[in-house]
Symmetry: C2
Subunit: 307 residues, 2 copies
């Protein structure tokens, strides 16, 4: 298992043809996690041949249109496609009310159950967890209540070195070894997990989704050491003042956060429509934090490839 | 002056990459009339280099998502672009409530005034008029309350034949002649409007926007003789039963309506996502009504070119 991410949109509030509004699609163990859902996200899913039916969890950072106007359309389409599986939505106060009202007037009754959980943005807390991952909120600073999300793979079991196991070992004993515990064999000999029969588990994946936000170093302890940090970069640093006024960040500031938080890699996006050429963004971020990646619509990142 | 139409989307409820959701943009005397506003309509306006700022009137047929989910995004963007001009929106009960709720939670206060008028779909009535056009509703048959719109250019003034006018004729007298009235010149001679100094006004333009609807011949008297009829054709006639169940029409049925209503031309669209090749649609419509036009995203129609 590893995380597999597709960027569905790298635009910001003002729409442009070449960059869709924000949405990131993360696959973990055949289950889809959607972060934000700007207008036409459902079309982007089709464009990049991703299965919307796989989406099980949807996280909405805040209620500015370029982050959630596509959600009602996506839900309607999932319903039209006869989805039956439960869907889990995490988002700010008001989101559930907006969706409910639209469904009322369009006479839409969902065939599937939606578990809606309202988010708070005052403090970081564990939002959800399942067998594979846990998701923690990241309070951000924006013009409306806004929180990002940190999704972390749970610790992976150690890997068994096949061929070295003695005969007659039970499945229960193998499970113990993978969990790092030693076991006794049928002769009363100790089989050591760490020394012989298993190797260390591969590093767990983790992804932090931080948008929209002013430069806000308070998030650093929360995202410390994350494998991939997505941080919005609406402006270049020459417009630092404009970034401050509108509660957005510059590429330089995203680089600073990445550096201070010692993250593995930085991914940037949410570019203002005023910029056509994005080269200055990646150059600016790399000056501070060399392991920066320029977001673009349709870009895919297999976390196994991240250095 | 003439009508100038751009098709922004020819898709139906199930999204496809090649056909956006429904929206038609009509320009009349430098003012834009938008009919329906499916998701990502604002991006289509940019793609086809149309000025969203020109939009003064928006007409929404019904509250199924592929006809209005793009409206809130369009309004937000107009606001972000500092629009100050009044906007007139005509749509069903519930639309205003939905827009208001979304603006509340996204902390959006519009800089411009929106005049919202709720439509009724039980009977045909005059919905609005201005200096140039009048718009009448067309009750349609769909799964939710739905009405189409007939927009008719007001009678144009006669055209003055320049060079033939006597000297010393006043602007007031020219206006009388254009309106078809005879006037007395300074010598007490009658200047005849129709016989000499003017020619007949060009035919007024008219456009009927009929979507979504089951086959419904009751609309024929309302749209009789319209220069261009847009009629939805979600299915081919081989799926007539499916069309009936879902309150949509087939290309054959749209052709029948066009023929019976003796319209000038028929434009078809709102194609089900199951169809990739649309040739069978235009063939089917043309079998009944030869002057049929296949809708496609980005198609423009100058009404002066319609035969």
């Amino acid at each position: 298992m590893s995380f597999h991410l597709t960027i569905l949109g790298t635009g910001s509030a003002n729409p442009v043809v070449t960059r869709n509004a924000t949405s990131h699609f993360l696959m973990v163990e055949q289950e889809g996690y959607l972060f934000d859902c700007g207008e036409a996200t459902q079309t982007q899913l089709i464009r990049y041949k991703l299965k919307a039916t796989r989406i099980k969890y949807i996280f909405i950072t805040h209620l500015h249109g370029d982050h959630f106007f596509g959600l009602i359309g996506l839900l309607s389409t999932l319903n039209m496609h006869h989805r039956l599986d439960d869907l889990f939505i995490y988002g700010p106060k008001g989101l559930s009310e907006i969706l409910t009202l639209q469904m009322k007037y369009s006479d839409t009754r969902l065939n599937f159950k939606v578990h809606f959980q309202e988010t708070r943005s005052e403090e970081s807390y564990l939002l959800m967890e399942n067998e594979f991952v846990k998701v923690t909120t990241i309070p951000l600073v924006h013009r409306v209540s806004c929180c990002g999300f940190l999704i972390e793979e749970k610790e992976k079991p150690r890997r068994i070195i096949k061929g070295l196991l003695p005969p007659h070992i039970s499945i229960e004993q193998i499970k113990c070894l993978k969990e790092g515990n030693d076991v006794l064999d049928e002769n009363g000999e100790i089989l050591y997990s760490s020394d012989f029969y298993t190797t260390k588990a591969p590093e767990s994946d983790s992804y932090a989704f931080c948008t929209d936000t002013a430069y806000h170093p308070d998030i650093i302890p929360i995202i410390k050491g994350v494998k991939l940090l997505y941080h919005e970069t609406t402006f270049l640093h020459e417009l630092e003042e404009r970034a401050k006024e509108t509660c957005h960040s510059t590429a330089f500031q995203a680089g600073l956060i990445a550096k201070e938080a010692q993250v593995g890699n930085l991914l940037i996006g949410h570019f203002s429509s005023r910029y056509k050429d994005l080269t200055p963004f990646i150059n600016e971020a790399k000056e501070v934090f060399p392991k920066s990646i320029l977001g673009e619509d349709g870009l895919t990142i297999d976390f196994r490839d991240l250095l």
